[in-house]
Symmetry: C2
């Protein structure tokens, strides 16, 4: 059963298990260093749809269907879907998944959504509120650029601090059966706002939230960074990662030896012109639901903290002069 | 502990309790039939803020602060906030609540969000994942009109099927202490889409989802409409209510005698020019967190089904020719 540990953390005695997982990605992601881990790479990122929003919905359908297949489940065996994305009113998720007729709770944590959907699934399963849940999220470079920045056709220049929104979706099916990767604990994040107002520097906006959640979890569990094989943040990319190290160091926490970031892993920054790195809900979803879970399944990594990081602004809030608050949710994954 | 009943329903043996609740509303809502139940009525719906989005954030802060006061809790005693709203990237919630530094999980269920946040809170509390949670949502007529329809200054005509987005917020603090109203069960809703594509007829778009969830819950629990003092839907208003009766009648379910709808209760449709009735996340939030919970606290209503209803479109999806899918989540409330 879920049990509260310290002020922010919940541990799971039944340890909800990953029954299946899948990640699908676009052409650019398929040219990156993690390509061989993806379940499908779509050279045509329209996915045969007439709009980018419908393309992103198609990515969600692909990720959900493929992870169900790998788990050996049908949609009707899933009690709840926890899903979300970056689009206004989460239309990538709701339109993408409506045909499956599974009860659905929309989640919004910006780019932290993969961690949030896994956390919700874990609480529901560990407590008996559900037998099986799906945690799923997506992003699409073209739908995100149009909505948050400028239409693609405008050809806006990107500053070096900008990140590249991943065209990808990831899904994990969680339940109680089997011998797979398990969720040992989650730590819910608080909104952190240090006054960053540059919407082309999301990494800096999210780093304080990541530092806050990591420090809270280590305090709650009385553990140290060296206790973990990997501390994997969502999509801080280069600038956010450097800031995270600085912020944690002020609290005498050094995660450098164990840390990596999905935004730094998804692309080859030397050759792929992504500036500070990757971002978008689909970035951490694709890295977690391919590379990470397969490494853990094989026992190459056994004790991992995944910290999804999100920037909570909208174009409206930024136009109104608001800062960019960040949030980060942590999922502790184990394989033993 | 949470226990699954039938295919869609979760019941709670510890029965999470409403420790405090508050509803705040705007001028028009304060001229309606439920005015005396509200904790505050703001004649100036700018709330002293420079933009309507910031005004809506202020409504959320007011609802959260007042419900905490009534429960006798401070923000630091709340383990998680479950919150959401209709604005792009849920900025009313995230910006409105950031200052409280409480871990926060953003929820998106369109106008079903009040029921969804209560459902999440109940699962977390009943299972031990949390001791206290806040369930909170809002809407604001002016921020919603600007985002979903036309700027106010445009003065667009509203057809008779249109609903009036409530300027209101509601919050319920849930925990395990005390002798208050309890959450006995929840039933998660599926996306239902019968092909409605008129964005000025949300009631029709949401009615199939409400019918689906009500029928699922009654089947799962082997109960009948007459077992309940009240079956309260979120904001179907007049057209949606009539459709709901028809859809349920096809399954030999007649809820007429026990049914009411928050969208029909919030305004006086004769004198207040709201056409089909009220809508918006804040509509059901304000009715539930004032009239309903106070009636239940006094024992005037003891066994109530609250079904939040949401229309899952965005302006983008509608412009792309999409239909309007609906969703409905059910919360079973008891006082005994």
């Amino acid at each position: 059963m879920p049990e509260r540990i310290g002020k922010y953390t919940v541990s799971f005695s039944n340890r909800p298990t990953v029954l299946g997982y899948a990640a699908v990605a676009g052409k650019k992601e398929g040219e990156g260093p993690l390509a061989r881990y993806f379940d499908a790479i779509f050279e045509d990122t329209t996915m045969g749809e007439k709009t980018w929003e419908k393309s992103e919905s198609a990515l969600q359908r692909e990720a959900f269907s493929r992870s169900l297949d790998k788990a050996g489940y049908t949609p009707s065996q899933i009690n709840y879907i926890f899903c979300g994305d970056l689009l206004n009113q989460s239309i990538a998720s709701t339109f993408g998944l409506r045909e499956f007729k599974v009860p659905l709770f929309g989640q919004f944590g910006a780019c932290s959504t993969m961690a949030q959907t896994m956390a919700m699934s874990a609480v529901f399963i560990d407590s008996g509120a559900a037998d099986t849940c799906a945690a799923i999220t997506s992003s699409h470079f073209c739908s995100a650029e149009r909505q948050f920045r400028t239409p693609l056709i405008y050809g806006g220049q990107r500053p070096p601090s900008a990140q590249w929104t991943a065209t990808a979706a990831g899904c994990a099916i969680l339940g109680l059966a089997g011998n797979g990767v398990r969720v040992a604990a989650v730590c819910g994040g608080r909104v952190n706002d240090l006054g960053i107002n540059d919407i082309n520097n999301m990494g800096a906006a999210m780093a304080p939230a990541a530092a806050d959640t990591i420090a809270n979890f280590l305090t709650d569990t009385q553990t140290k960074p060296e206790d973990y094989d990997l501390i994997l943040t969502g999509d801080l990319s280069q600038i956010g990662t450097d800031l995270l190290y600085d912020l944690l160091e002020r609290q005498q926490i050094d995660i450098r030896a164990a840390h990596n970031d999905c935004g730094l892993m998804l692309y080859d920054r030397e050759s792929q012109d992504v500036h500070a790195g990757g971002s978008g809900c689909g970035c951490s979803a694709a890295v977690v639901c391919s590379w990470l879970l397969s490494k853990m399944e094989k026992g190459e990594l056994n004790n991992v903290l995944f910290i999804g990081t999100g920037a909570l602004m909208s174009p409206t809030s930024s136009q109104q002069g608001e800062t960019v608050p960040g949030i980060a949710h942590l999922v502790h994954l184990v394989k033993k």
